[in-house]
Every structure is written in C-alpha cells, then in structure tokens.
Symmetry: C2
Subunit: 302 residues, 2 copies
C-alpha cells in the first residue's frame, strides 16, 4: 500500500475513504478533517476561548492536541467522576498533558456537585450507570463553561460514538433526542453554552492512530462501568456492518445529518426554563441534575 | 410454561409479549393480531375482493388461510419468477393450497412481462437480483389487481420483514422509501390499488408456527438468490438485538410508524404520472419496469 499523497509506504489504510496514508500525511488528513468540521458547522473562531472536555482518553486528548497545534485558545476541563483508580489515572493523564503544553486544566469533582461519586450514584439510582453519569457530565460541562466564561465546550466524540448514539436513538425512535444529535448545538438560551464535536468526521481507529503517532499518553482502559453498556452492543453491530460494507457508519451518520435531522427538528419544540433550584436551563421546574442530586442525598443519608 | 389464556401446557413462548400459549390459543392470538391490523389500518372490508399475493412460503399462505377462515372474499396471485425448481415447487404449493380451499389462483409469468425469467434478468441488469425482482413483483401485483378488478393487494410481509426493510432504509436514510413504509398504502392514483400487509404485527417465528399448526404445506427453501442478500444481513443484526432485548424489532418498527413516519411524510412530495409506454403509474416519463424490460430486451437479443 502506498500513501495517496506522496506515494511513500503507507502506515494506515482507511477503507471507507478507499485511501492509505504515510504517517505525516495521515496527521495532515486528520487535522484537515477537524478543520472541515469546525468550518462547516461554524464551531468556533480563533478569537474565542474554547473549553475542551477531556477524559484522559485518546479522543479528547487528540482533539485538544489538534486545537492547540492549530493555534486555538483552549483550556481543558476534567470531570472527576470518582470511579476508583480509573478516575485517578485518567486525571493524571490530563494533568500531565496540560502541563506539557502549558495549558490550563479546570477540574470539577462530580462527588461535590451530585453529593456522591458515580459508583455511589449508581447504587442510589438503580438505573444504568451511564445514564446518571452522562447527565452529570453534560450539566457540569455547561456550568463550568458558564462560570469560567467560555462560550463553547468541545468534546471528543468521534464518528463511532456519534453513529452508536444515533443507532440507539433510532432503534427506539427517540424523537426528542434525534434533533439534538448534531456536531454543533447552538446556544438556545443565555445560560446554555454551545456544544461542538470537532472529531465527528473521524473514526475511533483514526483517533487512536493519531494519538499514537503524536505520542499522546492517554488512558487505554475503558471505564469499568462501560462493560455491557448498550452503546457498546450498538458499536459492535455497526462494526459488523462496517466490516461488510466500509463507509456504513459514515453514511448512516452523515445521511441522518443531511437528510433526516431536519425532519425531526420540525416536529420538536421545547420551551427552555430555569431550574428553580440551581438556575440552570431545564424544560421542567426542577432540572434532571437537581432531581438526581436530591435522590442521591435521600438514598445515601437514609 | 403455561398458556396465558387457559393455564394448559403451552406450545409456544412469545418473549416479546412475555406470554405463552397452547396451540388453540396461539391460533386465536394470531388471528386476533391479523384482525387488529386490518381494523387499525382500514385495510379492507368484507364487501371487497382481496387479491392475496402468494409465493408458496409460510407467510403468504398463512395470511391467505386466515383471511379465508375469517370469511373474507379472496383470490390468490402467484407471480412465476422462473427461478428453476424453486419456482416450480412454490407454484405447485400455491396451486394445491388454492384447490384444497376452492379458491381462484391467478398466475402471472414474469418472463412474459419482462421478457426473460429472473435469472436472465439478473445477468442482463448486473444489479442485485432482489432489486429487479422486487420491482417486477410490485409492478405485476398492481397490474394484475387492476386487470382483474381487485381494489387491494395483500402481501405476507411479517414483522421481521418490515423491520429489516426499515433498518435498510434507515441505515441509508432513504427519505423517499421511508414514508412508503407502512402496513397500508392508500391508492393515491386511479391506477394504483391499495397495498396492505396484515401480518406486520406477527414475527417470522409466529407465522412459521401458525403455518405448522394449521398443517399448511409450504415451500421451506428460501429463494436461491436470497443468499447473501443485504436484507438477510439486516435480519441477523435485528435477531441479535432481539435476543439481547426481546421486543426490539417490535419497538423499532412500531416506534417508527407512530413517531417518525409522520415527519418523513411531510418532507416527501411526489407527482404521479402515467408511463408513456405502458400506462401504469410512475414518477417519470417511462416507468422503471418498462426501462427494465427494455434493458433486458437489448441485452438478451444483442
């Protein structure tokens, strides 16, 4: 296999693009895909301060690396979920990355905000762990960005993540979730910062290759609670379809964004209010995060 | 396991309904599901003549059996695809079934209409066999119903078929196909008869059990061209999801029909014309069937 750009020995084959690249040209390809995502969805400008939500994994650190190298003004946000050694190690990776690049890293402890670390939250809610954890992360990302004055939060969601989430929403036809699935969510309320996913055009394999080639030290282990998660089962389904027909994931996600999402946007109208307890944006009187924190408080002090 | 209705020994467990039935109560359950489908989608009345498209397989013969037993006025339509012994055997099953019930069976030869049997059509078109075959079947069903004066064609598509078709349309976001996916398609033009799928609430396993318990002699072999078809790969994906979470297929299909289909109906507007060659309904000047027949003629006589 030869590099599509220079004809040299290829380091990586990208079947869905029917292309192969040597290491330097793969890095160039990767950065161009991020630039294309930022440009196409007007994610942010060079004048803005971007908060990059980092987990210590390959995706979010690769994203931060690209944005720093490209000259964007960034800071990291690490959400400490309190998941035993997994959280300790992932925090250390983020701190080391930030220090090596001379970047600010904000740290928020979920235990402080919700009242208990995620493993205790899980036991208190008796619901799938990822549900309460995802809710807490989205809430704290937005709150931290508002507090520190960042107009936009960038997350490391890649093509595989986005396709798997879409797959889950589609299997249940969650018509409230479908219009929110987008590489860029605008601020629809003064207390909601923009949320963007500059890696949505790049697969998990590609972010792993980028992180490896860039020598990024990231946490390889998955979250211990992810085992058996529906999203992983959905990723496996999509992997099989991708294997049989390269480009399946891409077509599924991009086809949705281009052709189907507008149809769902039209049927979904929600009024945004401010939570009477914390003041953050919600569609009810009390936001889901405050309800979760209240439940955790009652069940852990009972 | 005990029958949900009578407490006797159950013959069949239906996990997605969290129920089990003895043989007589399963047959009753099956017929009620068909009646519910007919009622809910106003498929046809007892005053109408229904053309039942039969392939000789379990689904379409089970459907015909239910409709006859329920006192509907029916006749069969067998489309002879000219697929070697498979077609010979399946035609014989349909003829025997019709004769044993004293019913009329109309037979249309695809070779006569398209100019060649399906195996030759496949070679001529160099496209997936199922594509030209499906097109021909839909065309000939409608034409035969019009010619013989039936206002409605009923097909044996079951829940698994419908879920797999929907899955394929969704993976590619075929926004033209999505609004047409329905248990009942109205006549939107004087030359289009209604098309209905009274088995859409019943799984493949359930139609097989019904056919077995009713002693229906059907062709067990799949069409020899179906091997490797995308629809089969999609059925396998759905089978795995169903295995992990009973009811997945049902929720996927029914959720679409209830929540998502209306969104797609709105964005799709097509003008129906009459084919300048054959007079049947089309969206262009020449219908897809006439184009196919023309292609077959040119490639087989060249």
């Amino acid at each position: 296999m030869k590099c599509r750009k220079c004809g040299g020995a290829a380091a990586l084959e990208l079947r869905r693009h029917n292309a192969a690249f040597c290491s330097p040209h793969f890095l160039e390809f990767f950065r161009k895909q991020v630039a294309e995502a930022v440009h196409r969805h007007h994610m942010f400008t060079r004048d803005e301060q971007i908060m990059v939500a980092v987990s210590g994994g390959k995706d979010s650190l690769a994203l931060w690396d690209v944005l720093i190298e490209d000259g964007y003004q960034t800071a990291g946000l690490y959400l400490d979920l309190g998941i035993f050694d997994y959280s300790k190690e992932s925090k250390a990776k983020c701190q080391a990355f930030a220090a090596s690049r001379g970047q600010t890293l904000h740290i928020e402890r979920v235990a402080e905000a919700v009242g208990a670390p995620i493993p205790v939250v899980q036991q208190a809610t008796r619901r799938p762990t990822c549900s309460a954890c995802g809710l807490s992360k989205r809430y704290l990302m937005n709150r931290a960005a508002l507090q520190h004055g960042y107009p936009v939060v960038a997350t490391g969601h890649n093509l595989d993540d986005e396709a798997a989430t879409l797959f889950g929403s589609v299997m249940h036809w969650q018509t409230d979730a479908l219009p929110r699935q987008s590489p860029a969510l605008a601020s629809t309320h003064p207390k909601l910062v923009r949320r963007v996913k500059p890696l949505y055009r790049l697969s998990e394999l590609e972010t792993a290759a980028f992180a490896f080639l860039r020598g990024i030290d990231y946490i390889v282990e998955e979250c211990p609670f992810a085992k058996g998660a529906t999203s992983i089962a959905h990723k496996q389904v999509l992997d099989r379809l991708e294997e049989a027909s390269p480009g399946s994931k891409h077509n599924f996600l991009f086809g949705f964004l281009e052709k189907a999402r507008p149809a769902f946007e039209k049927i979904e109208h929600v009024e945004l209010l401010e939570c009477t307890s914390c003041g953050q944006v919600t569609t009810g009187a009390i936001c889901a995060f405050c309800k979760l924190a209240d439940l955790v408080k009652r069940r852990t002090t009972g």
